[in-house]
């Protein structure tokens, strides 16, 4: 099995990448780790004429963490973040990373690639949505656009990135509370059949965040459930709101009803849980 022929360009600066994207746009794809793109190329589900790899662009290979959160260059890998004590201290990040494929995948997976791919069952876009994070997009035509995850994530594998834009940075705010990531899948490491990200604020410090992923076309915030949680409603009421408001589709793995039900269950567990996090990946169903 081989990808269909393409040209491969790997300039050393973001500016040069932007020049190439301005010139080629739709004909080019950006390779950022390749753990989703290369299977698509191998299976010839994608057949771009040009592959642009920013792998040599040092300016998007580093990250920093401070009191406000994570500022990561797009090409920082999941494994690099996992190995960082500072990154692991960011509520929700370690648990999201651990659920991405296996270590052999996370050694190549990049944070920018994962968010830009916009897989509805992926953990990082869901976490970014829950924590009201942003992405930075750069292009020759539009300059620099900083966009909320909510605006960026459009649908299944569809984002608001224009063909001439490069996603250069991901900003993940530090949540003032605990963030619990839970998911159900056929096996650990598989994409989530359904998963949730729940932010439980420290008293008065923030508002609840409830995101369901893997259920519909993109990760979704269940705002009515968040509001009920903020108002001190019972966990059962919040769970019911999650089950009622989650948009879900059925497929070979699970029915839409099953996904809505489990989304509620996972949120309920997160709200009842202690200060730590629970990962329910691979649980039998």
């Amino acid at each position: 099995m081989k990808p269909s022929p393409f040209d491969y360009l790997d300039p050393a600066t973001v500016d040069e990448v932007l020049d190439l994207l301005a010139e080629m746009g739709d004909d080019a794809v950006v390779l950022a780790g390749g753990q989703s793109l290369i299977p698509l190329l191998n299976l010839r589900l994608a057949a771009p004429s040009v592959v642009i790899s920013p792998r040599r662009c040092a300016e998007i290979r580093t990250f920093s963490i401070d009191a406000t959160g994570l500022d990561a260059g797009a090409l920082v890998t999941a494994a690099e973040l996992e190995e960082s004590t500072d990154a692991r201290s960011l509520p929700g990040l370690a648990d999201s990373l651990r659920n991405i494929g296996h270590i052999q995948i996370r050694n190549r997976t990049t944070i920018g690639g994962s968010v830009a791919h916009a897989d509805p069952a992926a953990e990082l876009p869901a976490l970014l949505l829950a924590l009201e994070g942003t992405v930075t997009l750069r292009s020759r035509a539009r300059g620099t656009r900083v966009m909320s995850a909510d605006d960026f994530l459009v649908g299944p594998l569809i984002s608001a990135r224009e063909p001439d834009e490069l996603l250069t940075r991901v900003n993940l705010p530090r949540f003032a509370g605990d963030v619990v990531v839970g998911e159900i899948g056929d096996r650990p490491g598989d994409f989530a059949t359904v998963g949730t990200v729940v932010g439980r604020p420290h008293t008065g410090a923030a508002t609840h965040r409830i995101v369901v992923f893997g259920a519909g076309g993109r990760a979704q915030r269940i705002t009515r459930a968040e509001r009920l949680a903020d108002e001190g409603a019972s966990v059962d009421e919040v769970v019911t709101a999650v089950r009622n408001d989650t948009e879900a589709t059925g497929d070979a793995h699970a029915s839409a009803d099953y996904r809505r039900h489990v989304a509620g269950t996972l949120v309920g567990r997160a709200l009842r849980g202690g200060s730590g996090s629970t990962s329910t990946t691979g649980e039998r169903r």
């Binding site: 099995m1 081989k2 990808p3 269909s4 022929p5 393409f6 040209d7 491969y8 360009l9 790997d10 390779l31 390749g34 753990q35 290369i38 299977p39 190329l41 191998n42 299976l43 592959v51 790899s53 792998r55 494994a79 494929g101 296996h102 270590i103 052999q104 995948i105 050694n107 190549r108 096996r187 650990p188 490491g189």
Partner: protein, 163 residues
């Protein structure tokens, strides 16, 4: 055009400079260009783990890497794991515990375990998270997991095995 390029890389300690078609996967470069057929190719979409090799010390799927991406990198494959003194402890333990059946998945599993042992990953994590990235369709997991415990209790980087 930029559909071919010359790359330089190290494979099992040997330097290579070679011209490649840019769409060539690392797995195919190793097998077809270098004759290192110990790296097996299963699903070619990252799911099975048979093609796992080490790139700059990290276990990765060689079927999910375009060769230009490893220009300048150091690659380790199953052919470089044993040394003149004997088998790597992971290999010796898999042999001793019969941690393989048909053997198709074995090379990839060895590479992941070699990287994990070198990095000081605890045995329990090696048996779950690390082995979780590999499929053994013979379902020989019980003995593979037993071999992890043995290998993690061995010291050094090679074991003399009478054969």
């Amino acid at each position: 055009m930029s559909s071919r390029r010359t790359i330089t890389l190290t494979v099992n300690g040997n330097g290579h400079t070679t011209e490649v078609d840019v769409r060539t996967l690392l797995s195919d470069l190793l097998r077809h260009d270098f004759g290192l057929t110990g790296t097996h190719v299963g699903c070619e979409q990252g799911a099975c783990g048979a093609c796992t090799v080490l790139v700059d010390g990290r276990a990765v799927r060689s079927c999910l890497i375009l060769t230009p991406e490893v220009d300048g990198a150091s690659i380790e494959t199953i052919e470089g794991v044993a040394d003149a003194q004997g088998l790597h402890p992971v290999q010796a333990a898999l042999l001793g515990e019969h941690g393989m059946q048909c053997g198709f998945c074995t090379a990839g599993i060895v590479m992941s375990l070699v990287a994990a042992r070198r990095a000081g990953v605890p045995a329990d994590e090696a048996k779950t998270e690390v082995l979780g990235g590999h499929l053994c369709r013979c379902t020989g997991y019980v003995n593979i997991r037993a071999a992890v415990d043995i290998a993690w209790n061995l010291t050094g980087t090679s074991v003399s095995v009478g054969r």
